[in-house]
Each structure stands twice: as C-alpha cells, then as structure tokens.
C-alpha cells in the first residue's frame, strides 16, 4: 500500500529502459509525471515536487506496473 505523504522532500528516480508506457504514473500524479510523445515512456516533470503531491508520487510508485519509479 502507499506510504502516504508528509515527511521531508522526496527524490524521484525512473528507469526509462524498463518503462512499458502504461500511463499509470501520469494518471495518478499528472503534475509530476508525463509521457514522451513518441513512445509513451515516462518523463519526470517535477524532480522535487511540492509536499501536496507526495502522496500521489508514492501512489504512482506503488502502482507502476513495471516498477520503474523509485521514490526516496
């Protein structure tokens, strides 16, 4: 389950090589994640998102089917 928001700043890493363009991250956290036009692969729009986005970022990491999102 999601870790929830709060706490300190989050750092987001993505492994684009493993991405399968499901669109899950951009669906869950549209302000933070986008997708490349040519192949739908994840793009991080906000490397250090504001605190009100943290819960969504954690949810995106949990729901990414290819487990390419790493949140610290």
């Amino acid at each position: 389950m999601t870790g929830g928001g709060g706490g300190g700043p989050v750092r987001i890493g993505v492994d684009v090589d493993k991405c399968v363009a499901s669109g899950m991250c951009a669906f869950v956290a549209p302000g933070v994640f986008g997708q490349r036009e040519e192949d739908g692969v994840v793009v991080v729009l906000h490397r250090d998102p504001p605190e009100d986005q943290h819960e969504a970022v954690h949810e995106a990491a949990v729901r990414c089917p290819a487990q390419v999102i790493d949140v610290e």
């Binding site: 999601t2 363009a21 986008g34 040519e38 192949d39 739908g40 949810e59 949990v62 089917p65 290819a66």
Partner: protein
C-alpha cells in the same frame, strides 16, 4: 503437453473454475476466501487439462506478476481456460502477449502513446461522450427499457475501439466474430484461425490503405511512429497490433461496464453517494475494477525453481494468478468485500500488474468514467427492470459478467443539460 513441466497432482486436486453460486453475482467464488486464508498457493486442475498453482494472496500475486524474470508469459495468458491456446506452440511473430523483455516492449511502446497518454485520452473524450450521448438518445427514442449490456455497453465500446483504431462501426462483425470464438470454449487452433483470417485480410487492406493515405486514427500514427523508429513494423506486425487492440478491446470493457452498473444498482447506498458527489466517479471506477476485475485470472510459468510466499514452485510449473481474489485480501484492503466508491488508496490488480498489465486500461477508464457521469446526469431514474436474481450471466465465455442487464427509466434528459 510436456509432462516434465506439468506434474500430475493426484485425485483430490481442486478443479477450476471454482463454483460461482447465483447468490454471489459479483464474485469471487466464495471458496477463494478459505483458500487465501489456509492454502494461498494450492495445486489445481484447470478445465483445459493443465495443472497449476492457484495463487490468491495480494502480495503473492503482485510478486509473481511483477517479476517476469522468475515468471514468464510465454505459455500464454489464458491457457487455463482457452483450450485452443496450446502452451507449447511456438510464439507467433505478433503474439506479443506471450513475449517477455525487449521483444514485448517493442510492441508495447508503439501502442502505448495511442491508448495510454493523458493527451490522447483528452482527444478521445469528446468522441466517447458523443457515442454515449447518441446511444442514450437512440434508446430513449425507442422506449423506456433496454438491455444495458447488449443495447448500450457493447455498441459503445465497439464504436470506441473501432473509432480509435480506424475501423468503421459497420465493419465490426469481423472483430466481434473473432472475439466470440477466441474467448469461447473453442478447442482448436483451426477454429480460431478460421475466424481470424477474414479479420486479418480486412486489416491488411486497412494497413495498406493507411500507409498510402494516413487518416486521423491510431493505425496511421502507429505506422508513422514505427517508420521513424529503428525497427519499423512490417505489415503483418501492424495487422497483429490492430487485431490485438480490436479483439480484446470491446467485450472486456462492455462486460465490466454492465457488471459495474449492475453492482451499483445492487448497492443503492453507494449509488446515492455517487449521485450526491459526482467527484467520486474516478474512485468509483477504480473500485468497480477492483471489485469485479481479473476474475478469470491469468497464467505465468516459472522459469526456475523458486518460491511464492515461501511455497516452493518448480521450474516449468504453471501458476494461475487469481487477481479478483487477491483484491479481496484483508491484508491489502480494509473491509475488502465491501463496495466503497470512495476507497483510497486503491492499488488493485483488476487490470493485472507487471509489464503485461492491460494496455487498454486508460481507454477502459475513460469509457467507464464518461458512461457513469452521463448516466447519473441524464438518466437519474435508471433502475433494474427485473429482480437481481433474474439477471442472466454469461456462459461459454471467459469474460465473466451478465449476459443481459434489463433496465428501465422514466425519462432520458437531453444531452446538453449539465447537472
């Protein structure tokens, strides 16, 4: 069947599918709860003859689906239910549902932008809204009763996927026929090929046409994107991609749409919550998919000797992941057997999980969301026309859900009237 990869289990093996009593129209089979509790990885015999491990816990199902290195898709996603899907046959050139790794990703990334991005969904939304409104207008003109599955859900989802790919509605019979055989109890590859051939011939002509004259559809964009890439898709591959969008792309969504409406009508307090606060519609869609999705389960094959939740599994063993049962795991969801349209978080497995997770999930969400929004706004008096117990369920299809949802209403409000 290779005996070494399919060890016999003994006479007391549990038979799949488990009984689904009439009193449980939303599933999963009641026996699943006991299995999840006591024997979460259990040997079962499937109707196609193979034996497999049935996995019912949330964490275990996620573990298997999320690790393509330990658990391959190569045998086929539904060899436990589709007798024509021989797990030992070679993987076809365009059979990407059975590919792993980079071979699979090549297909996924060419389809992804057409069915997954926020921008594409925003472009498709007016088309879906028009289809929903036009269908409701037609039903209103015909009277005050209809079969929501056959008269609404199937035509709307058919037109949506056809419109997305670029296949006109009047040509739907080809992919309807293919889906009917593919997801039925058909036992031979020959039967499947017989019904796929006319579809492939049709799609080949479409591919050739769109190569010459691109249109504003996914096929044309897929061709353009493919040509710009390092390994352009052949015509045969493009035909396969179109078929993979069309054949599984309507009845799965139509069935969960009809089953979802039936679920809401049978849970009037939750329907009232939605009516009072339509901002809950997106979470209601997730909850419907959690509640009903993944019922048939999907198959993986162990690539090495390994464990699932501490239970040893041998290389070559088949595993059936029971996603709907996993989504009722008390370890993952509070009060999981309760329908809660406001449930958050809701990290369900109704669309599967892992690299093969349903690639049409964002279009399915869009169609379900627009339909719910529009029904609440335009048909507030919508109700079942028969008692719940009299709603017939499909037999002879692996896409589980109602065969008909007889509904009635007092009035259908005009499309323009925002509520």
């Amino acid at each position: 069947m290779d005996a070494s990869t399919d060890r016999p289990g003994g006479p007391d093996l549990l038979d799949l599918p488990l009984p689904q009593p009439r009193e449980c129209p939303f599933g999963p089979p009641p026996e699943m709860a006991g299995l999840r509790e006591r024997t979460p990885v259990v040997r079962v015999k499937c109707p196609t003859g193979i034996t497999a491990w049935l996995v019912t816990r949330y964490d275990d199902v996620r573990d298997v689906l999320g690790d393509a290195g330990r658990f391959s898709s190569r045998a086929g996603q539904a060899i436990h239910l589709m007798a024509h899907a021989d797990p030992d046959r070679p993987v076809g050139d365009v059979e990407f549902s059975r590919m792993d790794g980079a071979d699979y990703q090549r297909f996924r990334r060419i389809i992804g932008p057409e069915v997954s991005t926020a921008q594409r969904m925003a472009e498709l939304r007016p088309m879906v809204q028009d289809l929903v409104d036009e269908r409701l207008d037609a039903l209103a003109a015909a009277g005050q009763a209809a079969d929501f599955y056959g008269d609404f859900a199937v035509p709307v989802t058919t037109a949506a996927i056809g419109g997305l790919v670029g296949v006109p509605y009047e040509d739907r019979e080809l992919f309807h026929n293919a889906a009917a055989v593919m997801f039925s109890g058909a036992t031979s590859q020959a039967d499947v090929l017989k019904v796929m051939r006319p579809l492939h011939e049709y799609l080949y002509k479409l591919v050739v046409t769109r190569r010459a004259e691109p249109a504003d559809d996914s096929l044309s964009r897929i061709i353009a994107r493919s040509e710009a890439g390092e390994r352009p898709f052949t015509d045969v591959e493009l035909v396969g991609i179109c078929a993979a969008l069309l054949v599984p792309g309507f009845d799965t969504t139509a069935t969960v749409m009809a089953h979802g409406l039936l679920t809401l009508l049978a849970h009037p307090a939750e329907l009232a919550r939605l009516r009072a606060d339509p901002s809950l519609i997106p979470s209601a869609v997730e909850e419907i998919v959690r509640f009903l999705g993944g019922a048939p389960g999907i198959v993986r094959q162990a690539t090495r000797d390994t464990e699932i939740g501490g239970h040893p599994v041998a290389e070559g063993d088949y595993v059936v992941l029971a996603m709907q049962a996993a989504d009722r795991d008390t370890g993952a969801f509070p009060d999981p057997d309760r329908l809660d349209v406001g449930r958050r978080p809701n990290n369900h497995l109704g669309f599967g999980y892992g690299t093969h997770q349903c690639f049409g999930q964002q279009t399915a969400r869009l169609e379900l969301t627009v339909t719910l929004e529009t029904l609440l706004r335009r048909v507030p008096s919508l109700r079942l026309a028969v008692p719940l117990d009299d709603v017939p369920f499909k037999t002879g299809s692996i896409v589980y859900g109602p065969a008909e949802v007889p509904v009635t209403w007092d009035a259908v409000l005009p499309a323009g009237k925002a509520g």
